[in-house]
Amino acid sequence: MSETTREPDARRLATEARDRVRFEEDALALSDQVYRVARHLVGSREEAEDLVQETYARAFRSWRSFTPGTNLRAWLLRILTNLNIDRGRRVQRQPDQQPLEEGDYFLYNRLEATSDGVPDEERVVQRLSQNDVVSALSEVPHDFRDVIVLVDIGDFTYADAAQILDVPVGTVMSRLHRGRRILKKAMAESAVGSES
């Protein structure tokens, strides 16, 4: 160590500065995709904006802990979901909550039953509005929604989602399958009302 001279130090600093700039540029290029996921992990646009800003502030501070060549988008989302949990989500969380779900055909059956005539499958989808989807998604309990947002909206693989949420892949799969059914039930209620 006593052999260390100023010149290698300067070179090291220059390399580090270049790596940092590259990291920051790469991270910023992903911000639309990070926001897209964040927007549906939390309740409001304001919360999503705060969360994304906190995520980037933390990412820029701890950029050295990112391993180049690994999935940066997943790394950013891992920070984001951890921050989201730290933001008091634990308080609202009810681990014993067992939301009701219906089978995978439920939504189609409900939409078809309330249609005139026998529409084709694409027409049936058109009975749903953008708002039906957004409001239904916000009703899905957190644990299930996180997985739907990461996999179905953020296009993460099961394995990435498992790493981001720090749960086993099997948990991602079971939450995803149940979560989609819960979502479909909520969309049915939003589009055609609850069954009487």
Binding site: R20, S31, H40, Y105, Y108, E121, I153, L176
Partner: protein
């Protein structure tokens, strides 16, 4: 061969392509013969695309600027 109840259970793993080859073949045999299930599988495909599109909300321009401002200043 599977029945409609099993076919409903297999819908998500089928779409996610995580069924075994044997299960997939069994599901496809059923789907070829059953209009009821086939309609619901097609609906699911359209639904997934619709959900993916419906939730897109553009990122506010100001936020993009705020993130850029968080960068480490260059010396």
């Amino acid at each position: 061969m599977c029945n409609c109840d099993e076919c409903e259970q297999w819908m998500q793993p089928y779409m996610d392509r995580v069924l075994t080859d044997a299960e997939r073949a069994e599901a496809e045999t059923h789907l070829n013969e059953c209009t009821y299930c086939r309609k619901r599988y097609r609906f699911e495909e359209h639904l997934r695309q619709f959900v993916h599109q419906a939730v897109i909300e553009p990122m506010p321009v100001e936020l993009k600027q705020k993130l850029a401002d968080l960068r480490t200043p260059l010396m």
